[in-house]
Symmetry: C2
Subunit: 290 residues, 2 copies
């Protein structure tokens, strides 16, 4: 029963319903991409899992135990988020030490080595760090903790391309060394497409899709061509979005390519995870639904 | 002489030299990508152009006039940055109005239309907006101003993929309608690669590269193959970086492909702007320099 189980979780803020009775599980030992638009409910869900806020209804368990006010369970989880939960006046190296004594499984030596790789000055106070370096400091903490569940909420916000590459590489190395459950909530979908194994898409407080990246890539595709040709191909197919570009049409589909319907006027492309996400979560009704 | 001219600009903060006597110009009517690592000096330069801080040495002129304490020049420029320069207690719609009266060339109707497209509640106070919506609010302001110079400092920070796509599309539309100088400082390099015409890379306070995207794409490329084959190809060429992946080597080069040196064991790929940036600004000495 090793998993994070979300059962019928609802969260209401005054006049807003942030989560509407969602249920699903993060299985142990896999890397998840938790995707959703601005305001979809991702951070609300993460904060409920991390016991920072309470669900209005429903419950979350980790390895079968409720997360609410349960220290033994919370010690299994590290949640890196945008919010600054550390005393801003403390020096980075002191927070490393403190984290080690709280969790009892913090690799202090590795933390200092990573700080060097990222050129993070551990003598600085947290409040003196730039947005990018605040993220780096929190990433290092997450990478050096030996806990079975790690959640990253927008881990690369403000990081330059080099530091993002370094983070993705270190995360994979750390996962290969010690498999555990990793949940990454991010808006930079294409950058994590090769990293994550499972996708969970939250849209307006509900689960819109949960699937393996492998399956999505294998069955999702796009078809481009003249509007008439694309419309003919799409009839009866599972179309989830399309674009019109000066007389040309691109349709995004699931369910695998129908070879028998293809001809020279149609161009097939592989699925792009970010495009899939954008099309699935667009507010406007798509201009073509077969 | 329509341009932003940066002449020998140095900026020193106590013990840090943020900019080291840089000189170059942003020509009128083009879209620039201003790229640089965390802490490279991009925001410092932008703040000097926008007269928010002063250069220690050197000067910046817009259309031939110094930017320092010069209202007539500053009215030609709008600078959207991460810093919140608006009274946080003001409502979005009131700031739209106020911006209109300050600049005298603000399209209020368009601002409200865009707010609707982005689902930005204009009755909200700025402090009540999320990171993503703060960016959206500032983007809309920038898109509705009719000034010849617009600077975007990290415009899409915290924005979901749909909102980023919308921003890039609106920016292009606004540029096609009314060509002007647009400078985009961003870490999401691949996303703007098709948008920008010129690249300026700042590294540790100096200009590392200034070139057109077209030329970089035409002459930059990568070569993959066995380490020995790639090393042989690279001898005497302009190599700016490489990666080793389990026995295979990928080298990144400038100067155009040498057809006569190619053979079946070597695989050529087109340049990727983000990769070019990462390799040029890596701190470690690259493991292969021919």
């Amino acid at each position: 029963m090793d998993a994070i189980q979300i059962s019928n979780v609802t969260k209401r803020y005054r006049d807003t319903l942030a989560l509407e009775g969602i249920s699903f599980r993060f299985e142990a030992g896999r890397i998840y991409g938790l995707l959703g638009r601005n305001g979809a409910g991702k951070s609300t869900l993460i904060n409920i899992i991390a016991n920072r806020i309470f669900a209005t209804d429903g419950c979350v368990t980790i390895d079968g135990e409720p997360v609410c006010e349960n220290d033994r369970v919370q010690e299994k989880l590290y949640c890196m988020s945008e919010a600054d939960l550390y005393p801003a006046g403390m020096r980075v190296k002191d927070i490393f030490k403190w984290t080690g004594s709280f969790y009892g499984c913090f690799d202090l030596e590795k933390a200092h080595k990573l700080a060097e790789a990222y050129e993070l000055n551990v003598n600085k106070k947290v409040r003196a760090l730039s947005t990018g370096y605040k993220s780096i400091f929190k990433l290092i903490t997450a990478l050096c903790l030996d806990v079975p569940y790690v959640i990253f909420d927008e881990p690369v916000l403000g990081l330059d391309a080099n530091h993002r590459e370094l983070f993705y590489r270190l995360l994979l190395e750390s996962y290969q060394e010690k498999p555990r459950t990793i949940i990454i909530a991010t808006h930079l979908i294409e950058e994590v497409a090769n990293l994550i194994e499972e996708v969970v898409i939250i849209d307006r407080g509900r689960i819109l899709l949960q699937d393996s990246v492998e399956r999505l890539m294998a069955t999702g595709y796009s078809i481009a061509g003249s509007q008439a040709d694309v419309d003919t191909y799409c009839a009866g197919e599972q179309v989830f979005g399309c674009d019109l570009l000066g007389g040309m049409k691109i349709a995004y589909l699931m369910g695998g390519v129908r070879e028998e319907k293809l001809h020279a006027g149609l161009h097939v492309s592989a699925m792009n995870l970010q495009k899939l996400f954008v099309k699935l979560t667009e507010k406007e009704v798509s201009s073509h639904e077969a």
